[in-house]
């Protein structure tokens, strides 16, 4: 049973456009929702994270939108750049077993 569903699997965006990646979760005990960015040959790196006490968090060009009632959260990358081309993973954690559950990842390609 996949507890965090991520879409799309791949995404192509033009430079300057908005990239949007969506995730949905099932476990209502989750209370921590990070996004990780992974470049080829590198380990994942924490990009931005949110907790359910807020509906939105913004850091530079990256924004997480969170909808607790729908159990969904999304990553928006404004003014997307070729350097943003990477695989993005959403994840969730919470409850008594505080381990991250990852989505399947989205391969983002930003064309110049």
């Amino acid at each position: 049973q996949q507890q965090v569903k991520q879409s799309p699997q791949s995404l192509i965006v033009q430079k300057g456009g908005i990239s949007i990646i969506n995730c949905a979760y099932e476990n209502t005990a989750f209370d921590y929702f990070p996004w990780y960015q992974q470049f080829p040959g590198k380990g994942p790196a924490l990009l931005i994270a949110i907790r359910p006490d807020v509906s939105e968090k913004k850091e530079g060009r990256f924004t997480i939108s969170f909808n607790k009632s729908a159990k969904q959260f999304s990553l928006h990358i404004m003014d997307s750049q070729p350097g943003d081309s990477a695989t993005y993973f959403c994840a969730a954690a919470g409850g008594s077993n505080y381990k991250l559950t990852f989505g399947k990842g989205t391969l983002l390609t930003v064309n110049p």
Partner: protein
């Protein structure tokens, strides 16, 4: 943040052999984990490496196949035993930023190819 060093960064191994991956952290950490990332796939937790006691394995992973050591708060090893081509993956060491924070730092991974 923590700096995590993994060795080897990559290796090509023969079927039936075993390989040990080392993970060194630049500071003492309580939570240390081993993940597997198969080609083009997501990250799957193999086990939690517990200092001074046996590792805690996730469903589908067993100690005989993936023995783990954690002799202190800065070091751990993962052995992939009796390898088959299906074990070709990236193996990632990660550490937690704190208890029950969910935040993880990852090493750059060890890419194993089994022939």
């Amino acid at each position: 943040s923590a700096v995590i060093s993994q060795k080897p960064s990559r290796d090509i191994c023969q079927r039936g052999t075993s390989l040990t991956i080392q993970c060194q952290v630049d500071s003492q950490v309580t939570m240390m984990f081993w993940y597997r990332q198969q080609p083009g796939q997501s990250l799957t937790l193999i086990a939690t490496a517990n200092q001074g006691s046996e590792a805690t394995y996730e469903s589908g992973f067993v100690i005989d196949k993936f023995p783990i050591s954690r002799p202190n708060l800065t070091f751990s090893t993962l052995t992939v035993s009796n390898m088959s081509p299906e074990d070709s993956s990236i193996y990632l060491c990660s550490v937690g930023a704190g208890t029950n924070t969910g935040e993880l730092f990852f090493g750059e991974g060890s890419r194993l190819t089994v022939l």
